[in-house]
Symmetry: C2
Subunit: 364 residues, 2 copies
């Protein structure tokens, strides 16, 4: 009899972080592709682009100028999705059982949005930066986190959760190739983070343990999904990954947020980012697009919130087969269930075996 | 004092169908766009393309031939994501409380995948088809639904839920422009549908009413999100829409699935599809990309499943500003919370005011 083969037979895997399922159809990668092709990234960008509003000394759309910064630089987004001040939502008697109260639930959201330049050099990306310069990016995230936490207390700013993220590459909606990320700070915990916190609480309640702590232990035992590790962090393709080469960077012991990292743990995070993004670029010999973000404790966390939080980063890269062929999460994925074309173990093996020290452009 | 203005101030809206939130930042549409541009659809495609495997009489990758069909045609996908037969997953003692049992939950999935050609003419799309020909598409969906339900009973095929969908346009991962949709039939209820069923049950339990029945009543009273309606269906931009011009087509009274439509209700569904997709094309004068799909009762539904189900279609179109500028649901959306740049009411007003009878190409 033929046996069930995870790398050939369709199955669903459960994501305990978000309480959802993903359909894995590993044989499907064999179909031909006649659809949209991405434009591979060009590497002929100059170190300074006079038309780039993130390059030092240039003017931005709003008339503000970007200063002559030398390592990193953050500023308030000129088109923030949320603002610190706005009129309050009219109070409505939510206790009345009306159709509107049942079906049109609404909350006002205030907050702030920031852009974080990783480097003054227009043509760099995280994998092309020195580890020491990535450490400065981590320090900048810490500075922003601490500053907003302080303003929330001292100036009563409406800041509760800081979502730090990077959209890299045009395929991930990035509108400027200058190396930069963003940080949106809301007075509410955003949906995806709230789902994780709910799952962490449920797990702790049922098993008296940390979900991500147990998960790290299990992945270190199984090894098949590990991409890279150092003393502080593990990089895995999660068992329930959706994007073809999705990874999670997770701290080996409980660290609630980036501001709790020691100096050597910061070095370790910078190393992880450098190695992982180098492997990504080497996979299809292209500047690999992704969205990545940091999940951690809310600002000014209570003891309960600190106990619940476990620092981790998600990387969601769209490419599937090559520098030009991406995975589309569309029809069945949007209406039914996310579907992937290779197993987490297959993706992890490819990433694990790639060079994480030398960027492919160094050999060109 | 300034008042809270839904079309200017940031707020979050709750989606009771999927138990999740969306961030609405209506002022953000003002920012300039320097990112990726979509290729607008070309209309110079021939009625018959000798290289298209969906055109009548042509050969497909697997060596099968597409017959000389005259209206619609469906066949098993040559690269199905699920198969009717595969070895069973090794039984594992799930009662033991091991880390693996807690964190690596897995199910085998069997099923089948079909491609449905809407027309033999390569250069048509739903809005360019006659209403009578769209009726034939609806009939084909019904035939497939009934046939699979029958095979599940008589041949013990692993078919439980039929997800009918269409990916239209290269921006939505469509790999062939020939007018066609797909239908994936799984032995399990996919994640998004399961979430809705859970919400329907919860709502019925709490309010002794149908969530979508109450929602239809409320939208017909408020009117501001209605795009179009006829005797059987309402088209609204849902209160909690994520995609810029997302719509939901929902039956006004409870109809559990497409196979329960009377002849005149079928005509009404075809009219809705024709008018809505014509409005979509007219919005940016382009062949408007989207993913759409039908949510309805499972095959061979029990009475309980029929009671719970309420026929509706979701349309998820990516375009935001023009034929070439789409909304990217990326960084903050993937890591934090979906974010939209105009309100549901603003989107509905634009769609409502567009011509739904004459396609823009008729005036060129
Ligand atoms: O089946 P197709 O059209 O080749 O593929 C398309 O639709 C599928 C179902 O939504 C997706 O999984 C693919 O990523 C997409 O490219
Ligand atoms: O802020 P940017 O880079 O202009 O915009 C990009 O990131 C945002 C946050 O993920 C998204 O809402 C936009 O759709 C995307 O294009």
């Amino acid at each position: 009899v033929e046996h069930f083969d995870f790398s050939d037979h369709s199955h669903r895997r459960y994501n305990p972080l978000t309480d959802s399922w993903v359909l894995v159809s590993p044989h499907r990668a064999k179909r031909p592709w006649l659809g949209q092709q991405e434009t591979p990234s060009k590497s002929d960008a100059p170190e300074y682009d006079p038309k780039c509003y993130l390059c030092p000394g240039n003017e931005r759309a709003t008339g503000n100028s970007t200063p002559n910064y030398e390592s990193t630089f953050f500023f308030q987004n000129d088109y923030p999705a949320v603002k610190t001040v706005q009129p309050s939502l009219p109070a409505n008697d939510k206790t009345k059982d009306t159709l509107k109260n049942r079906l049109f639930q609404t909350e006002s959201v205030r907050g702030n949005c920031f852009v974080i330049c990783f480097s003054p050099k227009h043509n760099l990306t995280l994998p092309l930066m020195k580890q020491q310069d990535i450490v400065k990016v981590v320090s900048t995230w810490q500075t922003l986190y601490n500053q907003l936490a302080k303003e929330a207390v001292e100036e009563k700013k409406p800041y509760k959760y800081l979502q730090i993220f990077e959209n890299k590459g045009t395929a991930m909606g990035c509108s400027n190739l200058h190396p930069h990320g963003q940080a949106w700070c809301l007075e509410s915990v955003p949906n995806e983070v709230a789902k994780e916190f709910k799952s962490f609480d449920k797990y702790k309640h049922e098993h008296n343990a940390d979900l991500l702590g147990d998960y790290v232990a299990l992945e270190m035992q199984e090894k098949s999904r590990i991409v890279f590790e150092n003393d502080t962090f593990l990089v895995v393709v999660p068992y329930w990954a959706v994007w073809p080469f999705e990874t999670m960077v997770v701290s080996k012991k409980k660290i609630p947020s980036i501001v709790k990292l020691t100096d050597s743990e910061k070095q370790d995070l910078a190393q992880i980012i450098k190695v992982l993004t180098t492997k990504y670029d080497n996979l299809f010999q292209t500047s690999f697009p992704y969205s990545m973000g940091i999940h951690q404790a809310p600002l000014n966390a209570t003891q309960e919130e600190l106990d619940r939080s476990w620092l981790h980063l998600h990387f969601y890269p769209p490419l599937l087969r090559s520098a030009t062929v991406r995975k589309f999460l569309v029809g069945f994925e949007l209406l039914g269930e996310p579907q992937r074309d290779l197993t987490a173990e297959q993706a992890a093996e490819r990433l694990r075996n790639l060079d994480g020290n030398t960027h492919y452009t160094e050999n060109l």
